[in-house]
Point group: C2
Chain length 220, copies 2
């Protein structure tokens, strides 16, 4: 006998935006702009990872960054300091971007001539995973302090929709019960094709392998 | 001149559920059940904090736990092992609970005779802050690895709607650039009435002060 009851709450219908996303993806492919949708929890080091990535790739491709946030500009400020083109999108309280919102942002940004646009999605791993933004590829960042049991726990869907998983903050591995082999195993149970990149955005360790993967996607 | 453009995306209208929440709050008060809505990011130690809290208060009040999650039972399992009454709510992909969903969960749980029900809301700090669940009080957990600049950054709203802020994982303070004074200052800029409790759910440090606060709320 179960020690507790499980109750399924009837959910509202999610906006079906798959057609809109497919259309946007096709248009971006025609203009040779690669859109990467980057998702993570707050505090996982998304902006620092982006800054490192920009450093590595800026000489070989034209990069633009779309920062999505509820209402602040902290991340855009940091990115702008690298000299990269950046736009800050305010979602006014929305916890994710859908394809229509992404299209609005791209139009306002003006992405003609850019090889790579990284959409830094709103900082959580739940809602952004539900909505196809129209990006060519999806990536997520999981940081060591968040724990290696996360793939089985809070957000199964995001591991399924992502093509790449960055495991950030490996420099603090000694201070946490975080098992890199286990997280790899768990993540691959959710998605056998997931590419996994352990990095430290702080020290730069592992960033080359991640950038190699991203470079191949953009040139594809 | 700004180094980047800020663009406000038109958001969908949020469901207005304030009336429903007020009605639920009133009903719970009449039956002398105190509902606490507990919010946090994944990995902040919410379930461990709850387990500690249950240990301290179980002898003096009847406690029930409602775990809300997208689709897993990991947290309910842990709580059930403490011998506490627990129900697992599955939101089927929804990133938050509104008052209607909370009411469904409470009805299914059967809360008559309980002094304290803790709703462990879905694990993110964005969406749950938007929706009043009908709880008497709201609390959130911020953990040291998430950083002290968070109140200014990713989720300003949650600091405004919360009555208590638990700062967890103070045992790893030496390994992070986390300034307890700064986070207090930032959080109080958002909400001067916020009660702040630095704790380590792992070692038990600071848990008494948090439980004293909670005890006063329940008895009020």
């Amino acid at each position: 006998m179960e020690a507790y009851k499980v109750y399924e709450i009837k959910q509202s219908v999610f906006q079906v935006n798959d057609n809109e996303a497919d259309l946007l993806r096709q248009e971006l492919r025609q203009q040779h702009t690669f859109l990467l949708n980057l998702m993570s929890s707050p505090g996982s080091g998304k902006t620092t990872t982006l800054t490192r990535t920009i450093e590595k790739l800026r000489e070989e491709m034209r990069i633009g960054i779309m920062e999505a946030d509820i209402d602040s500009d902290v991340d855009a400020n940091k990115i702008a300091r690298t000299g990269t083109r950046v736009i800050q999108l305010h979602t006014g309280g929305m916890c994710h971007l859908d394809a229509g919102m992404t299209r609005q942002g791209l139009r306002e940004f003006g992405t003609e001539g850019l090889d790579l646009v990284v959409l830094e999605n709103v900082g959580n791993l739940v809602c952004p995973a539900e909505f196809d933004t129209g990006a060519a590829k999806n990536a997520m960042i999981l940081s060591v302090p968040e724990g290696h049991d996360k793939p089985l726990k809070k957000y199964p869907l995001i591991f399924q929709v992502c093509d790449a998983l960055i495991i950030n903050k490996i420099d603090v591995l000694p201070y946490f019960d975080f098992d890199l082999e286990k997280v790899t195993e768990f993540a691959h149970m959710r998605n056998p094709n997931l590419e996994i990149f352990p990095i430290s955005a702080k020290t730069g360790e592992g960033v080359d392998a991640w950038c190699d993967w991203l470079r191949r996607q953009v040139r594809n």
